[in-house]
């Protein structure tokens, strides 16, 4: 897997809980994410998928193993790996446009370029009309779009998303998933998305990394073969495709197995 842009190599993470107690959240996970692909980290809650993503972002340090981006070991957060969290992270004191410009400003990009790129990405996520609004005036889905535009405008090589649509209602979530396909096609950004939503994983992913629980281990690496290497930007179309329900069933079975292990 040397052609992978992002590599997780034999990574383990043990958290110290104090009083000498420890919790092994992730154990010996290895996988790669190819350039311009969408990879979903799927698994039941408590499988350490968010921890894996946070290590990719450089927000946690692996206890063992390495995360590599373009062959270089990740040592901390950086502009090359943008993160979108589940919780709203808009900077409420800044307008939507200033939010989107934040990363570029921090990286000393000149005002004209900032403005141009901000407008471009606000347009991409359909928020041009709200550029001068405050985030608190926006709905939950719109706030997540601001977060996505802000991350993309910063020009990351990889977009890391931690259950980004988990707090949204169902219709908004579908729209956002379709938007992500559109964004991936238009920007050629590599995307890693953590989810526990089977549909979301099948719809978005070129590759699904399924993690087991306690500790999180790589259970299976799944390629949705029925998509034949193409992305389907339409939720209604994909659920009618041959092979969709088989894959959903399979993932459901994997989820169930893990769920049983826990109880």
């Amino acid at each position: 897997m040397s052609d992978a842009q992002l590599e997780v190599r034999d990574v383990s993470k043990t958290f110290s809980l104090g009083r000498g107690k420890t919790l092994k959240a992730v154990e010996g996970v290895t996988f790669g994410v190819e350039q311009n692909s969408i990879c979903a980290l799927l698994g039941p809650s408590g499988c350490g998928k968010s921890t894996v993503l946070r290590m990719m972002a450089g927000l946690e340090t692996p206890t063992e193993g390495h995360v590599l981006i373009g062959g270089e070991t990740v040592t901390g957060p950086g502009q090359d790996r943008g993160v979108v969290f589940q919780a709203y992270t808009s900077f409420d004191w800044l307008s939507v446009r200033k939010n989107v410009e934040f990363g570029m400003k921090a990286n000393n990009i000149d005002a004209a370029t900032r403005r141009e790129r901000a407008d471009h990405f606000l347009n991409l996520v359909g928020l041009s009309k709200f550029a001068d609004a405050y985030p608190s005036q926006l709905s939950g889905g719109m706030r997540q779009r601001v977060a996505i535009a802000r991350t993309l405008a910063n020009g990351p090589e990889v977009l890391l998303m931690d259950e980004p649509f988990g707090a949204l209602d169902a219709e908004t979530r579908w729209l956002m998933q379709e938007l992500m396909i559109d964004v991936a096609e238009k920007t050629n950004t590599t995307i890693v998305v953590v989810t526990h939503d089977l549909e979301e994983a099948i719809f978005l992913a070129d590759k699904i990394i399924f993690l087991s629980t306690h500790p999180g281990r790589l259970k299976e690496e799944i390629t949705p073969e029925f998509k034949a290497g193409k992305r389907i930007g339409d939720k209604e179309r994909i659920i009618r495709m041959d092979g969709y329900s088989e894959l959903e069933e399979k993932l459901m079975r994997l989820m169930r197995e893990e769920g049983h292990r826990e109880t």
């Binding site: 790996r81 993160v83 934040f102």
Partner: protein, 269 residues
């Protein structure tokens, strides 16, 4: 077709009152207060030397301001509060933000600050008088000591409440530590910091009056102690009312400031 408004039950649990009811209630309670006061003084239920009538207090307030130069006392008091509070803020806000951001700074100062919080500031008056004499310095020092340790703790707590995701978002966008603190942590905590300032300003007024009553020849508190010597209860009550009005004014001022500085907190979709 006219809609009939459903009548609101007076004891409806936790349901908001209308504007009219709110206004009537607010005016009503004060009307009752002054009514009882006027009745008690005009019907001779109380000794008028000890409890002057509201009319007399009002007249005394007018006399104090117009003929006796009370406004200079008021200005001195306001100036003392303003200067000492500004000094306290200029130390407490940067330190509190630093303590709320960096655990290492907190580890140094928190044990010190929290111990000082339990020392009542007025207990320092005798030593402050010995150190600084009778000028402005001991009063300013008392207000400073009385306010700063609480303010530091409040600012630190509000800074700590800034959500981790905001900081992590800034870091993953490539922001430096300096930018994270100055452009994310500080603005995120600022509305709460301003609220803490508003609360502490009320405390500064309390210490001011203590300082002026104990050791001062100028200011509102000093005027009240002078009035006591001449049994001028109406002037003492004038002083109390002026302090109340000033407190109310600064509170309103801070609220307006809060609304102006943080328009984004008002707007909701």
């Amino acid at each position: 077709m006219t809609q009939t408004k459903p009548k609101r039950d007076f004891f409806a649990v936790r349901s908001p009152v209308g504007r009219v009811q709110g206004t009537i209630s607010a005016i009503g309670i004060w009307a009752v207060f002054f009514g009882v006061w006027i009745l008690a003084t005009s019907l001779g239920w109380v000794n008028e030397l000890l409890v002057p009538s509201p009319q007399k207090v009002l007249a005394a307030t007018y006399d104090l301001f117009v003929n006796r130069g009370f406004s200079s006392d008021v200005l001195v008091s306001v100036w003392r509060v303003f200067i000492s509070f500004a000094m306290a803020c200029s130390v407490a806000i940067p330190l509190g933000v630093a303590m709320g951001t960096f655990a290492s700074i907190e580890a140094i100062f928190a044990p010190f600050v929290s111990a000082w919080r339990y020392l009542p500031a007025p207990s320092f008056i005798p030593i402050l008088l010995m150190w600084f004499g009778t000028g402005e310095a001991p009063k300013l020092a008392l207000l400073f000591i009385g306010v700063i340790f609480f303010l530091i703790t409040l600012v630190m707590d509000h800074t700590k409440n800034v959500r981790k995701e905001l900081i992590e978002t800034a870091l993953t966008l490539g922001a430096s530590r300096y930018i994270v603190v100055v452009k994310v942590v500080f603005p995120a905590a600022l509305p709460d910091i301003v609220t803490a300032m508003r609360q502490m300003l009320a405390m500064a007024w309390t210490y001011l009056v203590i300082a002026e009553i104990v050791a001062s020849t100028t200011g509102i508190g000093a005027m009240m102690m002078r009035a006591r010597r001449f049994l001028k209860t109406d002037e003492i009550l004038s002083g109390i009312i002026v302090i109340g009005v000033l407190g109310l004014l600064t509170d309103v001022l801070f609220r307006v400031l809060h609304r102006r500085l943080f328009p984004y907190l008002e707007v909701k979709h």
